[in-house]
Symmetry: C2
Amino acid sequence: MKDINIVVSHSPQTYSVFIESGLLHSIFDYIEVKKYTAFYVISDSNISDLYVPMVKKSLQEHTEKTVRTYIFEAGEKNKHLQTVEKMWQDMADNKLDRNVLVIALGGGVVTDMAGFVAATYLRGVDYISIPTTLEGMVDASVGGKTGINLGHLKNYIGAFRQPKAVLIDIDTLKTLPDRAFLQGYAEVLKHGLIVDNEYFDEASRKSPLDMSADELIGVISRSVEIKAEIVQEDEKEIGARKLLNFGHTIGHVLESLSMNTDELLFHGEAVSIGMIAEAKISEKLGMIKESEFKKIEDAISQVGLPVRFKGTNSIDSVFDMLITDKKNRGGKIKWTLLTRIGEADFNIEIGEKFVREGIDYILT
Amino acid sequence: MKDINIVVSHSPQTYSVFIESGLLHSIFDYIEVKKYTAFYVISDSNISDLYVPMVKKSLQEHTEKTVRTYIFEAGEKNKHLQTVEKMWQDMADNKLDRNVLVIALGGGVVTDMAGFVAATYLRGVDYISIPTTLEGMVDASVGGKTGINLGHLKNYIGAFRQPKAVLIDIDTLKTLPDRAFLQGYAEVLKHGLIVDNEYFDEASRKSPLDMSADELIGVISRSVEIKAEIVQEDEKEIGARKLLNFGHTIGHVLESLSMNTDELLFHGEAVSIGMIAEAKISEKLGMIKESEFKKIEDAISQVGLPVRFKGTNSIDSVFDMLITDKKNRGGKIKWTLLTRIGEADFNIEIGEKFVREGIDYILT
């Protein structure tokens, strides 16, 4: 028998996250224009009518190369294969070669889907990500996760692919409705809770709605740094990344349940309430003190994020969905819980009693 | 402004290509079974009725874990998104998690498509490749290219993803019709022509149809090694991989043209004739001697591969299609040509006259 050993070495990739006010007017400055034959801007109908022309103009003022845009109808319901297929086809129809740069401009749906298009067109082309929502900036922007839904299965199809750069213009937050802006702040507070006590204190001092541009840049920067530190440690999501699940186990269930009510929760709002429940579980298990729990709840409440779930009074309905959800994925629930403010642990299995206590707390 | 630098380092991946007779009976031995929750065998209707049950049996004799198979209708015409979507859905319906191992069993269409499914299901799961055709063994098995067609555009959608292992059972070649077996040998001879003079001599001594198992293992092994050396040097296809294009520029055109005739060429047969044309161009340019050209033609002819194209008498029809083909990709033709037997050069631009002389030769 012959056995031939093949080594495929990838050199480490690096990219920068730039955070600035007014950056969209000069995105040309952040792109290695010489390298590309064309630019393909992907965005959706949620994006302010201003931004796509702004990006297009910034590029066209500096290059004669093709700048094409593709705008799809906004919404998670369009984050599927059919939309991706249309983009592939549009790119092929326009004879874009593998030296095209894909520019993803929008919220998480846009950056996830455009990243996947870039990951798969001609076996992969470059892309840059320009997140326009707070959660897009502090969460989805780092980690290289791209993907689409398969029917109702969220992000079932996708790839890991790092962008060439992430451009964050904090001015885009100002055009968001307050509630949509604020909800993204749940991820900021989460980053503080799981790894940085001081940052949590600082970030919960006031609502992001009341922050100056410099304050926002400071808070977002640290949040991106934390996300980046965790992701660099664990690119393929086998260990430390699980810290980022804090608030999400129960949060996801609340988000789904809210879809059957009149009070649809934003993802960040569901995570916010999920963090309260999971901090309460941490307290009940004796992992954090009651005073720490209190401080967390006060802080989250003070920035304006919700701390109670109004979609049901039934502990069972939340608990049962949690179990069904996990059974479908074929495993036991492994919790990420706090060991103090600014520190968490993952892969924790706990008794049903504690889960129910956590749920009970957010329903009352 | 804040600028945060993110480093994503990938550790080098390694995998083995195992080449053996009778390997399919014990594929269990080549798989780290503990690591996986389930096995998903993808194959097509071309594959001998024996092999899928053989692989299934080898696994089921050693593990209680789920072994599921997915067989699609054979043919390049099914190498598209709809087939991939059905597989994704089937995997999701069967609740396969990210610890599933995809096993691609078949020719190039199977391994390309199954590799793409593995590259994108849940943002990527492991796969092993079991090529059952000679060209699959010596060509597609190494390099990590996966992909599907977008309409008539070949391999427009895909990803680079390395398998965990490649298992080559030379016994599968024996169940192929002679012509289908033999055509894959064009890639073997190509490997000799572009980088290894001695290997070319050895490989052209007799037809693979007349070789013993040990001789076949020897020839295939060296071919895989050559492909691996080139690919390791140039994983993303920006340089040395272009050597592998030898015979393919004209070969692709002949393959397409033959589709409109009664004598449809196999890919390898078209490449075989393409190599003759491109070796002739090399000779006309003074890059190789007439005696070297003669030796190449004799060798290719002797193993039983075709050296003339019977689909047309018109130099123009071949030439025009070559030009159209390239224009569609927006560039000039860059040729890979021989500098002697066992050495080639790439990115060569040449005058129309030489191209026509090469084409003329294979039509007469």
